[in-house]
């Protein structure tokens, strides 16, 4: 009955633990702990709509009502022109990557603090928490995408092969969320100010990203400022590969990509520098 049959092989690696031992995360950890990443993501998805009456319907209702309210406010009241695209489809196609980004950013920023109990009790690979948290919004994203296709059908807009670019673009969205979330998660361990910054920051960033209005409405001198926001290019491109089948704006996208890579490298380096004390201060 006792699990003696799990007797161990004699040749086992010896690990050294001291004040300088490399307990820092490496990029390869993401592959090495792939199963753990998947389990954490699965856990967050699984408990997302637990003990709710409407259950997973929430994933469809939220974007639906957001779309309706935005259409009323921005199209009817503020008279924002969405060009030749019907406004509901226009705004939904922008909300899709935005919501995925914002949810991923919020979840990953809070991931370490939310799991502080785990962090101080289990030798869990720390990088797994923010990384898996950025992917938690994926099911909602897929449902919203379904809703978008229904809306596009309603307005008789047919996606073409360029729509497939949505897949790599979605990965860019996740990486963008991670590039900021990783840093903020590490800071959050020490200073809970992050908890106050995040809602504020995402709200301001939402208005500075062409989600509810097209980038073409932004006066030329301000465009440069917009190009500093990687989500700006990503949202624009995301929208036009689906709705217009247009050629990608490679320049803007490359710039956004470079920006995300730089941010990611900086965040990761900060994360590695601070993670040794996570369990002590969280």
């Amino acid at each position: 009955m006792a699990p003696t049959s799990l007797a161990l092989p004699d040749t086992e690696t010896i690990s050294r633990i001291d004040s300088s031992s490399p307990t820092v995360s490496r990029l390869s950890d993401v592959w090495k702990h792939g199963y753990l990443l998947w389990i954490f993501t699965w856990r967050d998805i699984k408990v997302r709509y637990k003990q709710t009456f409407l259950g997973a319907s929430w994933a469809a209702l939220q974007p639906l009502f957001t779309m309706l309210v935005f259409t009323f406010v921005f199209s009817r009241v503020a008279k924002v022109s969405s060009g030749r695209d019907p406004y509901p489809v226009f705004v939904l196609s922008g909300l899709l990557p935005w919501q995925f980004f914002a949810y991923g950013l919020i979840r990953s920023s809070n991931s370490l603090v939310e799991n502080r109990y785990l962090l101080t009790r289990v030798p869990v690979p720390r990088l797994a928490l923010p990384v898996s948290a950025t992917l938690t919004g994926a099911p909602d994203f897929v449902v919203s995408l379904g809703l978008l296709f229904v809306m596009m059908g309603f307005y008789r807009i047919w996606p073409s092969a360029s729509g497939l670019l949505v897949v790599p673009l979605t990965m860019v969205v996740a990486l963008t969320a991670l590039s900021m979330g990783l840093f903020l998660a590490a800071v959050n361990v020490r200073y809970r100010d992050v908890g106050y910054i995040i809602p504020f920051f995402t709200q301001l960033m939402f208005f500075l990203t062409p989600v509810a209005y097209p980038l073409s409405l932004v006066p030329q001198p301000w465009r440069l400022l917009y190009s500093l926001n990687p989500m700006s290019a990503v949202v624009e491109v995301f929208r036009y590969v689906l709705l217009r089948n247009t050629v990608l704006e490679w320049k803007a996208l490359t710039l956004a990509g470079a920006m995300v890579c730089t941010l990611l490298a900086m965040s990761f380096s900060y994360f590695r520098r601070t993670e040794r004390t996570f369990a002590d201060v969280v």
């Binding site: 799990l6 001291d18 856990r43 408990v47 289990v122 002590d280």
Partner: protein, 273 residues
């Protein structure tokens, strides 16, 4: 069989004194800056060295098959030692070498989720403790069987009692492929039958060559199955000897009064929320 599995050399962990572990907020920054200006030149800081040693100067070797009972009052450094050995926290000084993997059970609820069922929690808990998909699959049924949770295993964990959670957590810990099984004071949550089963399982693990580190306040029980005892007192290893001797040592030490100042500092209390 008598291969050394754990070796520590003057290992120690210091925490910064106080509530925020050395974190300084804006108000404090200002007052520090002002005080620094007001303070006459040449006068050194009056502030004491803000470190508290949770554990210090611990050296020992543990060989395969040993069952080590770790005793000590609250805050004497038992958990901090286990945390360093399992890689949760980094030692401030000294070092340790560990052959193979450490399976830790520091707390009943760590790595479990209230909204998931017992079965789902086995996956979650196994993965958070570093088990691969394959490892979990191989022992999944035996974990379920060992926990003796019956039909409750398909219920969300929020309807579990603490004792039932412990059954689940212990079952996962004992079926990990590890060379060290470190169990902190958690068995008190279980009923006597399951406690006996746990002890039997730990003895079986030791027979198979695993090291068992067992923290408990149940001295009688420890005496019955540990082979070696360690007594911690205010972060120091006061006694490392045969269990009976350690027991006597601990009993006599327990009669001495302790200064409460260091009592509660070293083991941070986990508060959810």
């Amino acid at each position: 069989m008598n291969e050394v599995v754990i070796r520590t050399e003057q290992i120690g962990k210091a925490y910064e004194f106080g509530n925020r572990r050395g974190l300084v907020d804006l108000r404090e920054r200002f007052s520090q800056a002002i005080r620094a200006r007001l303070r006459p030149r040449g006068l050194t800081s009056l502030e004491p060295d803000g470190n508290v040693w949770a554990v210090r100067d611990i050296s020992f070797r543990v060989r395969r098959g040993e069952i080590v009972g770790i005793m000590g009052r609250n805050g004497s450094g038992k958990t901090t030692l286990l945390k360093m050995l399992s890689g949760i926290t980094v030692p401030t000084e000294g070092w340790a070498e560990i052959r193979g993997r450490v399976a830790t059970l520091l707390d009943v609820g760590a790595g479990l989720h209230a909204e998931l069922t017992g079965r789902e929690n086995i996956l979650l808990n196994g993965a958070t403790h570093g088990m691969s998909r394959r490892e979990i699959r191989d022992v999944f049924d035996r974990i379920v069987e060992f926990s003796e949770l019956g039909q409750s295993i398909d219920q969300p964990l929020k309807y579990f009692s603490t004792g039932m959670c412990l059954r689940l957590a212990f079952s996962v810990a004992v079926f990990q492929r590890s060379s060290v099984l470190a169990v902190d004071e958690v068995l008190a949550q279980a009923d006597p039958e399951f406690q006996a089963k746990c002890l039997e399982a730990m003895m079986g693990a030791a027979k198979g060559g695993q090291v068992v580190l067992f923290v408990s306040h149940d001295l009688e029980r420890m005496r019955s199955f540990c082979t070696r005892g360690m007594v911690f007192e205010r972060g120091r290893l006061r006694c490392d000897c045969a269990i009976n001797e350690a027991f006597v040592h601990f009993a006599s030490e327990a009669e001495r009064p302790v200064t409460p100042a260091t009592e509660f500092l070293s083991e941070p209390v986990a508060v959810e929320g």
